[in-house]
């Protein structure tokens, strides 16, 4: 699998620059995303993982242009969305597509599969006639492994299974030949026996069409599987707390939150115990603080097993590169881990 590369001049395909999203509610302002910097290169996969309320879905929606951020910028091929003219906006719309979590809600219940696929083809002039649209729709369905496509084109969503619906939703996202697909928990509503099938199909799009992915999931095993060869960003309360190559983050997590998450994954084999055994049990608190009353300093400090008074509860740790032994670039936002690594560096 090719790791994504930046274009010749080093511009990422999509870049989030200090993106913020504050929702105004009756109870007060909810800072769902609090300054996130991320980028995806052409053909690359970036997994956003975290628990509910960590801001991963909001970040994904901002990246896909479904919600304008209240702060920061979104850049597509180096151009800020907010500064784009209408022509550029169309290019961005065609270039970045979103796949929703719930395949039962994301397809219009009263439109056939063909009508769903043909609409964007006709609207954007990619198909000149009904026959042309039909043929292209067939090819799209083959790309998402719905074969023979003729059997599916005249079906309504309620006549399809959950897995088939999600494939149709992916086919619809592919109509405009996007360079990037933002998928929000695209497999979490599907039965376990068919999840991997969908992931394999998406991986195939990556290799065959060079489509990049921003893949949001709460399931670390799925992030590890789908994000192989790409990068992973772990989010907590609206911030990225750890970021690096998928394999390295999963095999050798640095941030105490990532370590606890990895340890909390249930396992079938007792011998599957990794480097993080027991980390989840060390947590000092189970409940995630409310976004309405964020803890001071590092927002993880009330739960963190590494908590150091006077440091973690006063200063907000920045997300900065950390020299992990034997690893490539890793970003971690933790005072204590950073100190420990620095000390180990001095000692050796």
């Amino acid at each position: 699998m090719t790791t994504g590369t930046a274009s010749a001049d080093g511009t990422p395909l999509l870049q989030l620059d200090a993106v913020e999203q504050v929702f105004r509610t009756k109870k007060g302002d909810v800072p769902a995303v609090r300054g996130v910097d991320l980028h995806v290169n052409e053909g690359e996969v970036l997994c956003l993982v975290g628990e509910s309320g960590c801001g991963k879905t909001t970040t994904a929606r901002i990246a896909a242009g479904l919600a304008p951020p209240t702060g920061g910028r979104v850049l597509y091929r180096g151009r800020a969305l907010s500064e784009m003219g209408s022509e550029e906006k169309v290019q961005y719309r065609r270039g970045v597509q979103f796949v929703h979590q719930d395949p039962y809600a994301s397809l219009n219940p009263i439109r056939t599969v063909f009508a769903t696929l043909a609409a964007p083809l006709r609207k954007h002039g990619l198909a000149t006639s009904r026959k042309d649209a039909w043929e292209q729709a067939c090819r799209l369905l083959e790309q998402v492994d719905l074969r023979p496509p003729e059997n599916f084109l005249s079906k309504y969503p309620h006549q399809l299974s959950g897995g088939q619906r999600q494939r149709v939703a992916v086919a619809r996202a592919l109509t405009l030949k996007p360079s990037l697909i933002v998928a929000d928990e695209a497999t979490s509503m599907l039965d376990v026996s068919i999840r991997v099938g969908l992931l394999k199909m998406l991986s195939k799009l990556r290799t065959e069409l060079g489509t990049g992915f921003v893949f949001i999931t709460h399931d670390l095993a799925i992030a590890r599987y789908f994000g192989t060869g790409g990068r992973i960003a772990v989010m907590y309360l609206g911030r990225v707390v750890e970021h690096g190559l998928t394999e390295e983050v999963i095999e050798n997590p640095q941030h105490p939150y990532t370590r606890a998450l990895l340890d909390a994954v249930p396992t079938m084999d007792d011998d599957e115990v990794g480097a993080v055994a027991g980390e989840a049990r060390k947590l000092r608190g189970v409940d995630i603080p409310s976004l309405l009353a964020l803890p001071s300093g590092c927002t993880f400090h009330p739960r963190c097993p590494l908590f150091r008074e006077g440091l973690c509860d006063t200063a907000d740790p920045p997300l900065e590169p950390l020299a992990v032994a034997g690893g490539a670039d890793r970003d971690v936002s933790c005072h204590v881990v950073r100190e420990a690594v620095a000390e180990a560096g001095r000692a050796s």
Binding site: V192, S193, L199, L220, Y225, V265, P266, A280, I288
Partner: protein, 394 residues
Amino acid sequence: MATVVNQERSGTGSSTDRPVLQVEDLRITYRTGRSGRAVEAVRGVSFDLYPRQALALVGESGCGKSTLALGLLRLLPRLGGISGGSIRYQPQGGGDPVDVRALEGRRLRAWRWSEVAMVFQGAMNAFNPVLRIEDQFADTIRAHAEGNGRAARPSMREVRERAAENLRAVRLEPARVLGSYPHELSGGMRQRVLIALSLVLEPQVLLMDEPTTALDLLTQRSIVDMLRELREERGFALIFISHDLALASELSDRVATMYAGRIIETGATPEVFAHPRHPYTSGLMRAVPRVRGGGPGPVSIPGSPPDLAHPPAGCAFAARCPHVRDACHETDPPLETVAVSNGPELTAHRAACLRWRELAEEAAAADDAEQAADAGQTDDAEQAELPQQKGATE
């Protein structure tokens, strides 16, 4: 190929006790719409649950596991009903077994919470939204105090004491929780309150249907750990329903895989997960990507479960099975003992597959071959299917 399984994880002395719950050939039928066509959602399920044991029912949506849970508690919706079989409950400290199907009205309600309690997926729906947590406890405790014909109505002080004790058991601060309304608590806290509430009458059996599905990973972990401790302390039997095999394996001594309304494989948890004998169980195990360790990449099971309005003649899994033979489409395989255990017959490792013997031999041969060959090499077929996974497994 039969191996002797010792019952190390099945609780203390389970083989000598009498089962607390005996389910035999249970069938549950739904009538669909006004046309009244019957669909059998549970098609002959039998199992014995022993005191202190934890049984996991695993399977995918539509396999009948939730229907079975509702049926066991006689909580089926109006259009559903038990159409056959028996459920027998053995009260604590001896006495005649109770025929659960024959319980009605007041006796049924009393049985439901004080003998067998349940925790369902959506914790919010289980609470009355306008009552404080302490009032929810009071309602439960008082309703059953009267139901049991006890003379004294427990005072609010007594209620608070008992509630506090149970809340502490689920690691909640009684002072903080008792005066709150359900909506003021987080999802994880609500689920823990619900567990405390279900245990307040000290039932013998706790039935949980996907109790952690809506919860976050770390919350799930803490609830799983807490349940283990609680079970050790209080010794109730547990029926745990989940689609998550790994979670089931962590919580249970025994596991039963369900498919199309039947148990298709059952046995001691470590044994079933180490040597799955039904292709659906092994398929499910292989369908889940692992977060740790290497091993072959995941493989999904093609197709979808049969429509139970028209169940197939032979094995219900035949249409999706990679090992299918013609005979599978004709004969519906019964649950057969596939490994001898030293416990009662119904706790043995059993599977419903015509070809289990052949497949077990193949698997054993493959295991030997794998050990002989270079470690880390994966099966050729899988490599072809999953080129990008190879990097991760090595």
